[in-house]
């Protein structure tokens, strides 16, 4: 294994931790808004780290470009869908959780 | 010139022509009816051409894509496939001429493209030599049949179609799982290749069970027949005729083909089970038919009973006397003609009285003599009275049962015949008597009456054609069959 492989492995593990945290938040947070927050934030960063790791290992710039494109699309779609879910929840009158 | 005609690949034409016709109907809805009639007539001619070719050159094989099995898909036709194709073409032609007058312009636009694609699916199915290709053809047949069942949009038709769709999907998936096991056991989906490689092991036995169960469900073998009466009785009359005459024969044909080529050699015990279920179907279906108060439900339950006869072939003819293919094809053909005539006649009675209550038929015989004659002639064949084709087919079964000492099955067949006489005379009786409340009568177009009558006459005439049909399938056994065909004159 080369140094880039070790760096990539570190990025994967770090990304995995973010996914884990996001999932834990999704399961444990009290209402739909905080869950969305946990999900989109953590998943975007998590996926970003994993994509970064894969880019390090990519064989060509074309592959690296495609990987980045995937990340950008997920970011964009995730933001839009989170917005839609939150708006629908607000319209339905779901209260925002306060302690 | 004639040799040139012989060289045309008629088998491919029988599939591509109705496909092209169906697509033409989608593109130009206004042309649906002429496109439909031209395609169906063309299919009849193409099948005549294919039959001629098979008689001249022996079995037909066409490697699609030029690859050949096992890599590619082969089309294949022998006598058995040919008889099924002839059945599809002739019954389809009769029903098409009936449908030409039956459907209103707006229903016709929906009926023709689906019917043409169904016809293509049936032809593709009878011509396929590849078990995965058979799955695709089976799904095509099923979806088209369900779409046609729901055509009226009435609530009973929708419920019947929904139940039918779920049953047919379940049957296809069970069949597909069998295909999966056979492919992984023998490394091919070509029937001829499989036949060389298959040995009775656990995977093959499981495939046998799954495929038999799935196809029996699609053929509506008792007790898997729960979906048939609501679907066949609620569909429009020409569609009921198509479903009962042709669509259930498709899955029956696949099952028979698999048993003849792959499973028959070692699965004698299972064939006994299929025979017993067939016997149960005869009794249960006939009794239910006798209890019905509506013609179409009565005819639908009669189909359940007649399917039973088809399955008696498994214990009686598959192993012992090698006549299974010809007997099955002949019985299926005979039932297709008689049952389509009956459903079309029932459709005429419904159009005429606006209902299909048996008790209120109100002297239909005086006002629709041709229709009642069609029902009666078809009934003669269903009951198995000479000289109809139903008689020849059932006599052969009875003969096989007695010569093998299967008195139980013989008794069931005789009871089934008596019950059939009961339910058919029940309808005919009311057709001769006056109802308590007189009804308005609407005119029925002459073509619709003649279509039913001609199909019924076909069911009788087929009785005289037995030697020819048998010779198509078993040239070497033709002598046997000609004795059978002439036995009633003795």
């Amino acid at each position: 294994m080369t140094a880039t492989d070790y760096a990539a492995a570190c990025l994967f593990i770090l990304g995995g931790i973010f996914f884990f945290a996001g999932t834990a938040g999704l399961l444990r947070f009290p209402d739909v808004y905080t869950r969305l927050h946990a999900l989109t934030k953590a998943d975007n960063v998590g996926l970003g780290l994993i994509v970064a790791g894969l880019v390090l290992q990519a064989e060509s710039w074309l592959v690296a470009g495609k990987l980045l494109l995937i990340w950008l699309l997920v970011l964009f779609a995730g933001a839009c869908v989170a917005h839609l879910v939150a708006r629908r929840a607000l319209r339905k009158g779901i209260r925002i959780w306060t302690e | 010139m004639l040799i040139g005609l012989l060289n045309i690949d008629w088998g491919v034409i029988t599939i591509m022509l109705p496909l092209a016709g169906g697509i033409a109907c989608v593109l130009w809805p206004a042309m649906s009816k002429p496109a439909g009639l031209i395609s169906v007539t063309g299919v009849v001619l193409a099948i005549a051409g294919l039959g001629w070719r098979i008689m001249e050159n022996g079995t037909y094989r066409h490697a699609v894509g030029g690859w050949g099995a096992p890599l590619g898909i082969d089309l294949f036709a022998d006598g058995l496939s040919l008889v099924m194709l002839i059945m599809t073409a002739l019954v389809g032609l009769g029903i098409s001429f009936y449908a030409k007058r039956f459907f209103s312009p707006c229903d016709a636009v929906r009926f023709w493209p689906i019917w043409l694609l169904l016809l293509a699916a049936l032809n593709a199915l009878f011509l396929s030599a590849d078990i995965f290709n058979l799955y695709v053809a089976l799904e095509m047949t099923g979806l088209a049949a369900v779409a046609l069942t729901a055509l009226t949009g009435r609530i009973d038709a929708l419920g019947g179609a929904m139940r039918y769709l779920l049953a047919t999907l379940l049957g296809s998936l069970a069949y597909l799982l069998g295909v999966v096991l056979l492919y992984h056991d023998a490394g091919s989906v070509d029937i001829a290749t499989l036949a060389q490689r298959i040995e009775p092991n656990a995977a093959v036995w499981t495939a046998l069970g799954l495929m038999s169960a799935g196809l029996a469900l699609k053929t509506a073998l008792f007790p898997l027949s729960f979906w048939l009466p609501p679907a066949h009785a609620s569909a429009p009359a020409p569609v009921s005729a198509l479903l009962s005459a042709l669509v259930i024969k498709a899955s029956f044909y696949i099952l028979l083909r698999l048993w003849l080529e792959l499973f028959g050699a070692f699965a004698e015990g299972v064939s006994m089970l299929l025979g017993l279920l067939g016997a149960a179907a005869i009794l249960w279906g006939s009794l239910q038919a006798l209890r019905q108060t509506r013609i179409k439900l009565l005819v639908a339950y009669s189909t359940v009973a007649q399917i039973g006869y088809l399955f008696l072939i498994y214990p009686l003819a598959l192993v012992s006397n090698g006549m299974a293919a010809s007997m099955a094809a002949y019985l299926a053909f005979s039932h297709a003609l008689a049952k389509s005539a009956m459903f079309l006649a029932a459709g005429n009675l419904m159009q005429f009285g606006g209902h299909d209550r048996i008790a209120d038929l109100d002297r239909a015989v005086q006002r629709l003599p041709l229709t009642v004659a069609a029902f009666a002639l078809a009934g003669v064949s269903i009951m198995g009275l000479p000289p109809s084709s139903g008689f020849v087919g059932k006599w052969l079964l009875l003969d096989a049962a007695m010569s093998q000492g299967r008195w139980d099955l013989a008794v069931v067949m005789i009871i089934g015949g008596l019950l059939a006489a009961g339910y058919i005379f029940k309808v005919l009786g009311y057709a001769f008597t006056q109802a308590e409340v007189p009804h308005d009568a609407r005119a029925v177009p002459a073509e619709m009456e003649w279509a039913a009558l001609l199909l019924a006459i076909g069911a009788i005439l087929l009785g005289f054609m037995a030697p020819q049909i048998f010779a198509l399938i078993h040239p070497d056994l033709a002598v046997n069959a000609s004795e059978a065909g002439t036995v009633w004159t003795a």
């Binding site: - | 609530i155 419920g159 929904m162 779920l166 998936l173 597909l176």
Partner: protein
């Protein structure tokens, strides 16, 4: 490569789970889901078993068959959903009318 058998067994499990749901549930939408799960199970068995001889041989024929199967499944699902909607529109509920000894 015994992992292939793992997926094949999962496929059989899915087939049986779907069959159970198809028989037990009355609501048509559940029955449609059940048929889809059964189909996924069959496809899984088909592709998984093609890998049982190891990584080296990748048989493309099952893959092509499964793609065919997925397209057939979505067609059937669409028809079933449309039928269900029409039935519910007429009868007010999406269950099969009238039990016929089933």
């Amino acid at each position: 490569m015994t992992n292939a058998f793992l997926y094949a067994f999962a496929g059989i499990g899915l087939f049986v789970l779907g069959l159970h749901a198809l028989v037990v549930h009355a609501h048509v939408l559940r029955k449609i889901l059940a048929v889809n799960v059964m189909g996924s199970g069959v496809f899984l068995v088909l592709v998984a078993l093609a890998r049982r001889s190891g990584e080296a041989t990748s048989d493309p024929v099952p893959h092509a068959m499964v793609i065919t199967g997925i397209v057939v499944a979505v067609s059937a699902t669409a028809l079933a959903l449309a039928l269900m909607l029409k039935l519910a529109g007429k009868s007010g509920e999406a269950v099969l009318p009238g039990k016929h000894n089933d």
